[in-house]
Symmetry: C2
Subunit: 341 residues, 2 copies
């Protein structure tokens, strides 16, 4: 591959170009083969680039868009009024082959709806899922899906999420990924009808290494490589984790703030601790992928700061290099053919 191109929705997220443009410049430094197309308000973007002493970077293209999609726009409205918005134009560039991936920190519902409309799903997939890798006690990460793209799911959809998650994890693991369902108990009798029906489907699917139910307190224990749930539960669970992590990180920061000696002693004594705390920082794993589309779409946290948004761009780069949609498509056909339902 001679180069790879990421299309950025520069207007998305809580801070728009103030975060997306510096993050783009940071990602370009990190990935020498990367090119970036910035979609958004030209003057806002160029003024950010000037501030960064990058008035004319040959690896950055700016394409002006007049419109943006607000955070409170309903997906159906977003679909009707998407022409000329930075999000739609960034997605179109992927659909038309001008970019290899799209990254946006904008409205999740709109991004989901527009991605389905512009890129279409892979054959056999009803609804794309939002997936991210979360840190664990063990050295491996765990992929969690769906994180909020689908607020209500049936057992079929959940089964497809399991297949997609398994195929994604397979690209990074030496062994067959262990797939679990997030539930409120480990015993077979626990849970609602949705998880019980999906458990039956997964148990009788020869191509999935289904290991059973997993509870919320085991999410970060590294016991499964892929954990599947509906988007409402996944979103609450991930955001709750972020809330708790921030509670701890703030407590630790407060404990050493305002006392340079304490800070120095803490850094010297607890180097390993700070490294592991950093790994638990939600910003470190910012960048959730919309899985199941005929193209790569990465969703950043709306409140992402510059390093966090740069991580989302990095996630897109990794997926381009691994050609995730093609791999999913290839394997999906086999798995779905073998499934007993």
């Amino acid at each position: 591959m001679t180069g790879l191109t990421v299309a950025l929705d520069a207007m998305g997220g809580d801070f728009g170009p103030h975060v997306t443009v510096p993050a783009a410049v940071q990602a370009l430094l990190q990935y020498p083969e990367l090119k970036i197309i910035l979609y958004g308000d030209q003057s806002a973007i160029t003024s950010q680039l000037s501030l960064l002493n990058q008035p004319s970077n040959p690896r950055i293209t700016i394409i002006h868009s007049e419109q943006t999609i607000a955070n409170d726009t309903r997906p159906s409205q977003a679909l009707r009024r998407s022409q000329g918005t930075s999000m739609r134009m960034a997605l179109d560039s992927v659909a038309e082959g001008n970019a290899d991936a799209c990254v946006s920190a904008g409205n999740t519902g709109a991004l989901m709806a527009l991605s389905r409309y512009t890129l279409k799903q892979l054959p056999g997939i009803e609804r794309p899922a939002l997936v991210t890798a979360i840190p664990t006690h063990s050295k491996h990460k765990t992929w969690l899906l769906d994180l909020g793209a689908n607020v209500s799911c049936d057992a079929d959809t959940l089964f497809q999420f399991a297949v997609m998650g398994s195929v994604l994890a397979e690209q990074c693991l030496a062994s067959k990924p262990r797939v679990a369902l997030l539930n409120i108990g480990e015993e077979e009798i626990k849970g609602n009808d949705l998880v019980k029906r999906c458990a039956e489907m997964l148990s009788s699917s020869p191509d999935i290494h289904y290991i059973g139910y997993i509870e919320g307190d085991q999410l970060y224990a590294g016991k499964a490589d892929v954990i599947v749930c509906d988007g409402f539960v996944g979103n609450v669970s991930l955001k709750t984790s972020e809330g708790v992590a921030n509670l701890f990180i703030n407590s630790i920061k407060q404990a050493v703030t305002g006392n340079p000696i304490k800070r120095l002693v803490a850094k010297w004594l607890f180097r390993d601790l700070f490294v592991s705390l950093k790994q638990l920082n939600p910003d470190q794993y910012n960048g959730a992928s919309l899985l199941g589309l005929r193209g790569i779409v990465v969703k950043s946290h709306g409140s992402a700061d510059i390093p966090a948004f740069a991580n989302a761009i990095g996630e897109a780069v990794h997926e381009i290099k691994r050609q995730i949609p093609t791999k999913i498509s290839d394997r999906l056909e086999e798995v779905l053919l073998e499934r007993p339902y």
Copy 2:
């Protein structure tokens, strides 16, 4: 009140009498007016009491039971085969007025089913909810419900949870409790049909101070006094929090283990931190109440250790002193009469 009596299901939980009996002795030291009836295997209980040098404590009564309810027993099975089990006998003692509250670390589904059968719901309540107080950034705690007693709810049930949570919080607050719905976004358009319908009901209910949606990352921010969700979401959310808290606590423990000097310096550096970590430790707030019954039932974590189970007994003592069921019953009638649906 001359005294108060708690009935303990001594056989429930992962460790049975090894935890419940020492915790009972600890609680008796803490609450001089407390008496405890222990339901369970007499010889196992007496041998634990002997180990604790309490062979005949006049404030402890032992009532032998032959049977226990296993963790994998379905609620319907538990109902049919409950006669003579420690859980059923402890609940019966509350129903018959021999005890003021029941505490169990046993099977949640069975406890819910047996509590409804023996104690009955308060008028106007379809299903009891499991509620606990969680720590927050601010000085106030937040009540979260349902934590897993109801794996699927309709909007009516969720509304009743909001009313019960509000009445419970009212007993501890000077002002009207702020009630929020747990959702995957703060904007009105976000979420599934369940929360949207319940939001409408709460908005038009004059007796509830409804403040809107709250996301998982704000669960511990102290922005609401009562947060309402269905039992699946609440259980996953609470257990996920415990998982993340343990991840942090273990990282910190690892950093000081095996090095007494580091441990000393850490204590000096992070005194405030350890105090706040202790507050975040799930064991500190062990003891969730089954709200909406004509009696007090407290559910302990199955994996609770001695201090954690003693906290659950303490929770029962507080509820007896505050006469929570009577207060809920009194206020409930007013709220439900005024509700627009």
